[in-house]
């Protein structure tokens, strides 16, 4: 697409160049407050457009939200910074570690590579949404029982991924668990205990 085509040095007259060529100097000389004020007062239409936020409705852990976000905000940053749900972790921010794993409409995804605005109308579940009436989710309990972590940084992502792994039917053997959990890196190397925890929850066969 855009970056896949030959563009021999012909600058597009878009907003980006406007920013690069003229506004940058202005922007640097303004305080952030002044920039936002200019944006909100639409003192400069094009400038304001840079800060354009769009409406977003989504449900997080059963609670409906009507938000306003910049298109560039990822689901991960929205959860952590706007909704203050900091249980979901940022490891690599590039889809390479799984620390940011959440469920969207029941499927596990890397929230660092999902733009928040692409989740309009969807249901998101994070680690904060697992416990019921003060009782841990069976997978949370199993991670504690089997010592499935050391530093704990990867754990929220591991647990979200583990629940999905069982629901998908991809946890029938230890090898299968290892393969389908490979999207969650654990720097502390708690892998054997993580597999133990998942295997146990899978074997108890309850609804998770």
């Amino acid at each position: 697409m855009a970056d896949n085509k030959e563009k021999p040095g012909t600058p597009s007259p878009g907003r980006r160049n406007f920013l690069r060529d003229s506004t940058l100097i202005t922007a640097l000389s303004l305080t952030p407050g002044a920039v936002l004020k200019a944006a909100s007062e639409k003192a400069d239409e094009r400038f304001a457009e840079l800060f354009e936020k769009i409406p977003l409705r989504l449900t997080v852990n059963g609670q409906a939200h009507a938000l306003s976000v910049e298109p560039r905000v990822t689901l991960l940053d929205l959860l952590r910074e706007q909704l203050k749900l900091t249980g979901t972790k940022k490891g690599c921010d590039h889809g390479q570690c799984g620390a940011c794993t959440v469920h969207v409409d029941g499927e596990r995804v890397n929230s660092c590579l999902s733009l928040a605005v692409m989740n309009e109308g969807k249901e998101v579940t994070t680690i904060e949404g697992l416990a019921r009436e003060g009782e841990l989710h069976p997978m949370q309990a199993a991670f504690i029982k089997h010592d499935g972590f050391q530093c704990g940084y990867c754990t929220p992502g591991q647990i979200m991924s583990a629940i999905a792994c069982i629901r998908e039917g991809h946890a029938r053997t230890r090898d299968e668990i290892r393969e389908y959990m490979s999207g969650n890196i654990c720097r502390c190397g708690a892998y054997p205990h993580i597999v133990d925890a998942i295997e146990e929850v899978q074997k108890t066969g309850g609804k998770i």
């Binding site: 896949n4 910049e70 590579l113």
Partner: protein
């Protein structure tokens, strides 16, 4: 990430119309490649057109082929009963790509369009003819362990990173493309390009087009298929070399064969000459070894990727042997 305008398209016509309006607009599907590239500053579209609402998720059995919509997720395709039964090779290849989370997000169209993982392409402080035509190829004299051994040019030695596309190349798939006034079809093996003098062009999709899906002909390989992926760790890593192999055996005689390599070229590397060499012969270890040697005879490696030539040959032997034994 530099901010951009975000629009949702409700129909294919609308998506194409929005695309035509702005030279620096881009579609977004799963976002797993594009968002990554935007964070790195490698891509910086002014406008993103979200195509997820288009009705392109279907996977269906048609006359003589299976149709897979461009927005079907990699996981949905890999796990679909029809695909597992009729196109097990595709299912295997998809399941060896990325992670379960990424496969839930990644789409067929996005997978076809994904860009190279060459470190020089990804690092905007480095020269790269693909990212910035005329700036040079950093990999040529640089760290080129992951790079091409076939079909490269002095302008670019990057490889196409997809697993799915290697299986689709072996299975004679066709890409269905939507245009402002209709559709066209192109063989998957003709879809991606070699770098030549224009490495900035990954493929032959035109600026005003959209991928609608792929069609994969029904075949007679049954279970005699194998997708072998060799990588630095056993899961969740890009291929050093991969092989898609499919055989139709008549007793011990090779009635039909398909072979394609991944991780070795700017496009899925179909080995048609090797296929012709094998067709009609009796399957035996010496023949397979000879076929593998022929397959890599024209490979040209660089300072850090000479191992890929041996690795490719050995992988071909293994993939063909395993494909012949599957039942």
């Amino acid at each position: 990430m530099i901010n951009f305008q975000y629009l949702r398209a409700g129909s294919t016509e609308k998506a194409l119309a929005l695309l035509a309006k702005d030279k620096n607009a881009s579609f977004i599907a799963g976002g797993t490649n594009l968002v990554d590239l935007m964070k790195k500053g490698v891509s910086s579209p002014d406008k993103l057109i979200d195509i997820n609402k288009l009705p392109l998720k279907d996977i269906s059995l048609e006359e003589g082929h299976i149709h897979i919509g461009a927005l079907a997720s990699n996981a949905a395709v890999a796990d679909h009963a029809l695909i597992r039964e009729k196109l097990p090779l595709l299912s295997m290849a998809l399941n060896k790509g990325a992670s379960a989370q990424l496969r839930n997000m990644a789409t067929v169209g996005g997978n076809l369009m994904q860009r190279t993982r060459c470190g020089y392409f990804y690092d905007i402080t480095m020269p790269c003819n693909k990212r910035k035509p005329g700036s040079g190829c950093g990999a040529l004299e640089g760290y080129n362990r992951m790079h091409a051994i076939f079909g490269h040019s002095e302008n670019c030695i990057a490889v196409h990173p997809s697993d799915m596309c290697v299986a689709l190349a072996a299975l004679d798939a066709v890409v269905v493309i939507g245009q402002p006034n209709g559709e066209r079809r192109i063989a998957l093996s003709e879809f991606h390009r070699l770098p030549g003098k224009t490495p900035q062009l990954d493929n032959n999709l035109k600026a005003n087009e959209i991928i609608l899906g792929v069609e994969v002909p029904l075949n007679t390989y049954g279970r005699h298929v194998q997708y072998l992926k060799v990588r630095d760790r056993s899961s969740y890593a890009f291929a050093l070399v991969s092989v898609a192999a499919a055989l139709e055996l008549d007793g011990n005689r090779i009635r039909e064969v398909r072979l394609a390599l991944g991780g070795v070229a700017h496009k899925p590397w179909r080995l048609t000459a090797t296929e012709a060499f094998l067709r009609g012969r009796e399957f035996d270890p010496a023949l397979i070894r000879e076929a593998a040697n022929r397959s890599v005879a024209e490979a040209r490696a660089f300072k850090h990727n000479k191992f890929k030539i041996t690795l490719a040959a050995e992988s071909i032997v293994q993939a063909l042997s395993e494909a012949s034994q599957q039942s």
